[in-house]
């Protein structure tokens, strides 16, 4: 059995405990022994993508130290996984990213399973997040896992491949453009009538969820509830 280290990401560390808990439950259900190295913090993506190379490199080196001894590092974030794989080689010259797996990659490519024994009797629409889909090349991996969930009804999200407008500090530096992109994403999500909007990145879901919550204070249809797809896969409701 490979030694599996869980990288929960700083966003989940601060805001979303249920997502990493779900990852632990799924992996343990499949018989893996999961470890959570408590010294972990952030992969450095915010710094790197905002132009702070030295700060990002320092955080990358910490990441490498914390996760040096694991055969596989599993994370519920497409964009953090892409960060370690695409940018670490340029920042620190390391290839640790080859051992980092976004959850769906680990489940399909390492564990070799599509059906993780979940049950989730709800309507769900899926947003393929940009870094997961394009930078990491996840393709439809998370969707394949979701399709195998018992009781789930998946509905297509119109213009699914369009960015939600988050983009890290882009949301702050170009708030108006970001908000215009978000408004379209929220409109499409609400139009599906789904109960949940699933994605592979809680940072994007914070953005979309924040937009939908804001819409909720206004008249009109309520949007779907944002949920990380790992929580659906862990569910046995």
């Amino acid at each position: 059995m490979p030694r599996v280290g869980l990288f929960i990401t700083c966003v989940n560390d601060a805001l979303y405990p249920e997502t990493p808990k779900a990852v632990v439950r799924i992996l343990e259900r499949l018989g893996y022994d999961v470890d959570f190295p408590a010294a972990q913090t952030c992969c450095g993506q915010m710094h790197a993508n905002s132009g702070y190379r030295e700060d990002a490199a320092a955080l990358a080196r910490s990441f490498e130290q914390v996760f040096a001894d694991y055969d596989a590092i599993v994370t519920p974030s497409g964009s953090c996984a892409a960060m370690t794989r695409d940018q670490y080689p340029h920042l620190t010259g390391t290839d640790i990213g080859r051992r980092v797996y976004e959850l769906s990659e680990f489940l399909l490519d390492v564990a070799g399973t599509e059906d993780v024994g979940a049950r989730f009797p709800h309507t769900v629409t899926y947003h393929p997040t940009c870094h997961g889909t394009r930078a990491l090349g996840l393709g439809d991996k998370p969707l394949r896992l979701l399709r195998a969930v018992e009781g789930i009804t998946l509905v297509d999200l119109p213009a699914a491949d369009q960015c939600c407008g988050f983009g890290g500090t882009f949301a702050l530096k170009n708030t108006e453009v970001s908000s215009a992109m978000l408004a379209d994403k929220c409109r499409h999500a609400a139009g599906t009538g789904a109960e949940y909007l699933a994605a592979a990145d809680n940072s994007c879901l914070t953005h979309i969820g924040g937009g939908i919550a804001r819409l909720d204070h206004q008249p009109g249809p309520r949007g779907p509830r944002p949920i990380h797809y790992a929580e659906i896969l862990a569910s046995r409701a």
Binding site: I8, C10, D13, A14, L15, Y16, P17, P20, K21, F36, A38, Q40, T41, C42, G44, M46, H47, A48, N49, S50, G51, Y52, R53, D55, A58, L59, S62, D86, Q87, C130, H131, R134, A135, D161, Q162, C163, G165, G167, G168, T169, F170, A171, L172, K173, N174, T175, E176, V177, S178, S179, A180, M181, L182, T206, H207, G209, G210, A213, R214, H217
Partner: protein, 492 residues
């Protein structure tokens, strides 16, 4: 006059006059976002081209290999640009062309104006060309008392509207056909143009609009003795130039006048004629979403009795060799100006081209403009959410997100932001401090926990850039129990 205005329809206000070109991108973008007609025109047009492109690209099962080949050819060109440029000069000269070298925009404009004047011409017809937009040739000619007439339909619309292009391939993308009709009626009316002018009864039917432009342009083609063009490709092996176009206006300009001046960026070089095979498959599909473009003109020097007798080629640097020196940034020089990245960009789709404040807008502009004019467009590398849609469609595989991040890492940073990022790193690099910060955020946000979200950030956070978040999004409140607490409890 008011009666004229009534007969000619509402005056079309040039978009470039409303969107401040010198303002930082976020500010200019905000103005563009507030123009509903512009936004609906852009969304409609980019959506249409996007779908067309996806269709014709999907037909080729070797698309990815074509992209790889194109990227490899361009990388090879960049490695031996000096020798290829000299080879091109030698072969073009041997075929009867005059080759000039221009270090910058000023030199290129002066050379072009001198050639036109020496040919005894006072006006030129123009083939659509980004290089001449980049060096502002039309403006220079006007200041010199020469007239440059655009003959590409969309460029003509922009020129008549006294506007600026907002897209590389479709410079009038921000206008719909009602607005184009109004521009034609106002600028090409019979009062102004004589009997050949358009009637006030002109409809917005595309065929009628094209016919009005055709009648107007025909006079220009027949009277012009000099033309100015750019080139899509310059073949070193043969000294040939290639122009790829759709309307036939290019063919007219390239064959009818006696004198032809072509302004060509040095990155347009290709080693051999055979290399065109790759690009002629990639370019039409990526730009107009067509399998093949209607007109491809290839000319090699000058030939008696066949096209222009005075053939001049101005090889333009204008910052390109400096871009070449940057190992990561130089891939921007592979661009073939297809505009596929603009059409898929969620930012461009919502702001249009004027907000970028540069002749090259969209994702490619965001990496090209700051490199061609260092220090002048430091805001552009941030005009992207790094979604990667541009890289996915780029026919020459320019990793635009990679270059955007690279340029962000070069550029200056605002002091406040630098301090905040430094503080964040200081906390995140120390696990104990990080845990303390998590706990502090949990306690600090306790008053909002029942609500579950914040509509506004509390003071003093509300005074920071973070407050921009709550402009359009609520913020979730940190949980009662963090994952690490749960894990610790569980391990016990």
């Amino acid at each position: 006059m008011s009666t004229d205005a009534a007969a000619n329809g509402p005056a079309v206000v040039p978009a470039a006059s409303l969107i401040p070109a010198d303002a930082p991108f976020p500010k200019a973008a905000k103005v563009a976002l507030g123009m509903p007609q512009l936004r609906s025109n852009l969304a409609h047009a980019t959506g249409t081209i996007r779908a067309k492109r996806a269709n014709v690209v999907g037909e080729l099962d070797d698309w990815e290999r074509l992209r790889d080949a194109a990227a490899a050819i361009k990388a090879d060109v960049q490695r031996r640009l000096p020798e290829l440029a000299v080879e091109f000069e030698r072969n073009a000269t041997a075929a009867g062309a005059r080759v000039h070298w221009a270090r910058d925009a000023r030199e290129a404009n002066e050379i072009a104006a001198r050639i036109v004047r020496e040919a005894g011409a006072e006006e030129v017809v123009k083939v659509k060309s980004m290089a001449t937009q980049e060096i502002e040739l039309n403006e220079h000619f006007e200041a010199e008392g020469l007239k440059a007439f655009e003959t590409d339909l969309a460029e003509l619309i922009v020129q008549l509207a006294e506007d600026k292009p907002s897209h590389i391939l479709v410079p009038a993308i921000h206008y719909n056909r009602d607005e184009i009709r109004d521009i034609f009626v106002q600028k090409l009316s019979r009062q102004k143009m004589g009997g050949d002018g358009v009637a006030t009864g002109l409809t917005n039917d595309p065929a009628a609009l094209a016919e009005a432009a055709r009648l107007h342009l025909r006079r220009r083609f027949l009277s012009a003795t000099a033309a100015v063009s750019g080139a899509n490709f310059a073949v070193a092996e043969t000294g040939s130039l290639v122009v790829v176009e759709s309307e036939g206006n290019g063919r007219m300009c390239l064959t009818m006048p006696e004198t032809l001046v072509s302004i060509v960026g040095i990155e347009k070089l290709l080693p051999s004629f055979g290399d065109l095979e790759v690009f002629m498959q990639l370019l039409p599909r990526s730009s107009t979403g067509e399998r093949m473009n209607p007109y491809t003109s290839v000319w090699t020097g000058a030939r008696e009795g066949d096209g222009p007798r005075n053939v001049h080629i101005v090889l333009l640097d204008n910052g390109r060799t400096d871009v070449l020196a940057d190992e990561v940034g130089r891939q921007a020089l592979s661009c073939i100006r297809c505009s596929a990245c603009l059409n898929v960009c969620p930012v461009y789709e919502r702001t249009g081209g004027h907000a970028y404040g540069h002749v090259y807008p969209g994702p490619i502009g965001a990496i090209l403009a700051p490199q061609l004019e260092p220090g002048r467009h430091d805001d552009l590398p941030y005009a992207s959410s790094l979604c990667g849609a541009c890289y996915e469609v780029c026919p020459v595989k320019i990793d635009i997100p990679e270059v955007l991040v690279h340029l962000r890492q070069q550029g200056p940073h605002p002091a406040g932001e630098r301090a905040a990022m430094g503080a964040a790193r200081a906390v995140m690099a120390r696990p104990r401090l990080w845990r303390t910060a998590l706990r502090a955020a949990r306690f600090g946000s306790a008053p909002w926990r029942r609500k579950g979200f914040m509509r506004r950030l509390p003071w003093p956070v509300s005074k920071t850039a973070l407050s921009k978040w709550t402009a359009s999004r609520d913020l979730p409140v940190p949980p009662q129990e963090h994952f690490r607490d749960w894990w610790k409890e569980r391990e016990r």
